[in-house]
Symmetry: C2
Subunit: 199 residues, 2 copies
């Protein structure tokens, strides 16, 4: 499971490794996480990166490409990290820990909402999500087999989906103060983990 390039690449002017460019992408990621995608504008990115708005526009003539650059960078990094989960002594717990990251949930929500009305960003999100899912699948499939769990009852893809989707939705709901069923749901999954993958 190598790291394939995403289908849609960010189109931008300027050298790829340019210091200015790197700083702009970093500032955009921070802003998205802290204040939401709607707060990401040429002016706000420029202020945070310590450059002028025009310069940000020089590097990323289309705002979509700016978001795509952030997305591509962080997905590449994530896939590399998750590709090694299979080597762990507790792969299922690694997946569970990864999916429970609150910052990951916040960023996912922002990008999903953004993708909802920016077609090109949506494509990158989808492709990136699948790459992550595949990396997790590569780690979880042999683990489930080793634990003697039958594929019909515990399809690896369903296990990965569930262990990713549940914590994400829990974090979403927590953001607005909803919590009904969270404790019960987490308890059920952790009981399962304790059984098949004891610490």
């Amino acid at each position: 499971m190598g790291i394939e390039p995403p289908l849609v690449r960010s189109r931008s002017v300027g050298v790829r490794g340019s210091r200015t460019r790197t700083e702009i992408v970093r500032a955009t990621g921070e802003l998205t996480l802290e204040r939401g995608y709607a707060a990401v504008t040429y002016r706000s990115v420029a202020t945070r990166a310590g450059v002028t708005a025009g310069l940000v526009q020089y590097y990323f003539p289309d705002m979509d490409d700016l978001f795509i650059a952030v997305l591509t960078d962080s997905t590449d990094e994530l896939v590399v990290r998750l590709s090694r989960v299979g080597e762990s002594a507790h792969p299922l717990r690694e997946v569970w820990a990864y999916a429970n990251d609150p910052a990951g949930a916040r960023l996912l929500l922002e990008f999903m909402a953004l993708a909802n009305h920016r077609k090109r960003v949506g494509q990158v999100i989808g492709a990136g999500g699948e790459r992550v899912r595949m990396a997790l699948l590569g780690a979880v499939t042999p683990a489930l087999r080793a634990y003697g769990l039958p594929e019909e009852e515990f399809p690896p893809a369903a296990v990965v989906f569930l262990m990713s989707a549940v914590p994400r939705m829990i974090h979403f709901e927590k953001m607005f103060g909803a919590s009904t069923g969270h404790a019960e749901m987490v308890e059920r999954i952790e009981t399962f983990l304790d059984r098949v993958e004891p610490r």
Copy 2:
């Protein structure tokens, strides 16, 4: 399980049942669903509702209150509908069908993203979500008991959470073309439904 008023009410001028007001709220809901919350402005709402921007602002001096009105109206309606699910011959399937509504998923995503940086809207989302969850819980709890499913293994709150969260996340991912694990996950849940609540 009565229908309680939400904690945060929409503050707005003008008669509650006013034709103009109703039209404005309706137009806002449509716009949010079709073009995203970012496209909802006094001017765009006014155009769709066939009134002037100033008039929209007269009814809803704060944009938050406009979103809150949409949210409150649709939640009230939803809770009334879902409160009757317990009377159905197939309550679990009713919950499953409700949570699989694609428009519901799209609207939820928009409002979650909106709530992420509008505190008052977030409170209303959370409270509304809990009201819906409670309505579903009231229908599912006796059903699970009737099917002879032990509370420890199938906590009603966890069942409701799972049957709501899974289809929602599936719809979110579908919007961007991701689908890994969806079929396997749905198949697992529908197998469960066929077993405990045969058609």
